[in-house]
Symmetry: C2
Subunit: 304 residues, 2 copies
DNA sequence: GCAGTTATGTTGACTAAGTCAACTATATAG
DNA sequence: CTATATAGTTGACTTAGTCAACATAACTGC
């Protein structure tokens, strides 16, 4: 906890400086930071009333009033009369305002592009991943929707890594599980049959938020494996969507049933399976992860 | 590039608000944000001269002078005379200043702790990782030193994931390499012999910055495998340190020679091997990664 | 050891940023 | 119709931040 806090403070210090330097670079003499932020917000929401801007940018009403007056004098914005409510003066950009905005917007883009210029493609992707993950962790309720897509290169192994870490933390399954995860994913990659097997990744703002795999067991049986949802992406229905995708694929591919192996302690996963029609058909206690744990075999009959 | 820029702007907006909210929470009436930042910086560096603070916090000299005067009036700091350079007035905290600082420090810690309270241990670790990676990517020359340590749970698979991604980007080696990486790491985990094999991770501020593995080939031969250094950690001598660790371990374990397989296109890696005494003893063209590439076998004779 | 230059820190004079409360005008609830 | 709430404006003010001039001390090259 202490080191976490220290790491966050270090980042805060760093980023405050970083943003400060960048803002200094993108601003020209036409407008100061507050005016630029205001113009950006107006451009994003127009037509918008002052009280909305005041709440969103968290600035004083009086101060905002003066700033909008300044922008109006400069010819960047205009204020309508609103017949529905004569108190409000909805703000819109003028043509000149649109030009000023797009200039600033372009300058800000260039400032960022300049910062990125020394980064290669992988590093840029890493940066986006890192920043997005951080944002999702700090703001878990951000209103973002996810998509389901095929795994990109490296993501199958990443699933092995993430599952090992998640279960090591939550249930103390250590190296033993890690070996199994690595072998399962390696075997999936080696023996992959494109027409009757599949892997799916849930993508939240470009970041892997969960995954699931379906492999062929022969005799009309498919196995659902390696389902996981990242902690930062929980409570968004990602687990259900992944399992649902699996089931659709299996039905399409002509399987008679899907089977899977899970554990009694994995509550969240078991609820997902139940919701999607799976039933537990047998249990077994094993020692593959160190301490003895109760495994469960579930299945879903697919009637076409 | 456009989506990268957009992701960064989104994060900037988010984080500006986030830091703003947190600052508002931790500040009491005793000091404003600028004074708090100044006090923090003094506490971190004391004894420190004004010009250093001015550069680090990027504020006006005159403004700083007035602020230090204010802090001195409040009894939080004292300014010595320096006999080496009579122009400077090294600043130190007084006892009262130390108390004020530690109060604010504590308040800031609590504000951060409050933000973190809804995150589990894995999520906290993920957050630190994400923020640190972002920082290293944005500030590649940050003066940080690395350590070499054993891989944590999940990191071996992460090596497979990262190598696949890095080589897919730089040399177009796709799924074929991914399979090999996954199998190699899975085999390492399964067959690991603690006394004569090893894996090492370079750790930069808590983040995996590179790795290498050494496996037993029998007949006194060890194989160095899966060396990689993350792009954000290049030019710090991490590759050399990893290879050096490997060689030391191999010598200690009584091997007669170390062999390794690499590729002619992997310039940076080849230079590391050369610097550490390896020699290329044969080459072979193969098609394992799709397009034909020239592989190379290198070795190092260990004379005890 | 001395002129010229540069660095450290202070001060006065100023501008810009931000705050607060009083105010007008309009809407809404009862 | 009255009481109350909301949208936005304005005057009076405080705080934050900037700029250039200044005093003092240190370095540089002769």
């Amino acid at each position: 906890m202490e080191t976490t806090i220290e790491a966050i403070r270090t980042f805060n210090r760093f980023f405050t400086r970083h943003v400060g330097a960048m803002n200094a670079r993108f601003l020209d003499t036409d407008a100061n930071l507050a005016e630029a932020r205001l113009l950006f917000e107006i451009a994003r929401q127009e037509p918008v009333q002052a009280s909305t801007l005041q709440a969103d940018l968290d600035i004083d009403r009086g101060y905002l009033s003066r700033m909008t007056a300044r922008l109006e004098n400069r010819g960047w914005i205009m204020r309508d009369r609103c017949e529905a409510d004569a108190r409000t003066r909805p703000i819109r950009l003028t043509e000149a305002g649109r030009v000023a905005f797009s200039q600033m917007d372009q300058r800000q883009r260039s400032a960022i592009a300049h910062d990125l210029s020394c980064l290669g493609p992988v590093e840029q992707e890493d940066l986006v991943q890192a920043l997005t993950r951080a944002r999702l962790l700090l703001d878990p309720d951000a209103p973002l929707s996810f998509t389901i897509r095929a795994p990109r290169v490296g993501e199958v192994s990443q699933v092995a890594a993430r599952q090992s870490i998640l279960y090591a933390e939550s249930h103390g399954w250590g190296r033993e599980l890690e070996v199994l995860e690595a072998e399962t994913t390696a075997a999936f990659l080696r023996q992959f049959k494109p027409d009757c097997e599949g892997g799916w990744v849930a993508d939240l703002a470009g970041v892997m938020a969960g995954a699931v795999f379906l492999t062929d067991e022969g005799q009309g049986v498919a196995r659902l494996r390696l389902l996981h949802v990242e902690p930062f992406a929980r409570r968004r229905g990602i687990g259900d969507a992944l399992v649902h995708t699996c089931i659709d694929f299996a039905r399409e591919a002509g399987y008679e049933r899907i089977t899977l192996w899970t554990h009694t302690v994995l509550d969240a996963a078991r609820r997902i399976y139940t919701r999607n029609g799976f039933e537990c058909i047998s249990t077994d206690v094993h020692h593959e992860f160190g301490e003895p744990v109760q495994g469960e075999t579930w299945q879903l009959i697919l009637n076409p």
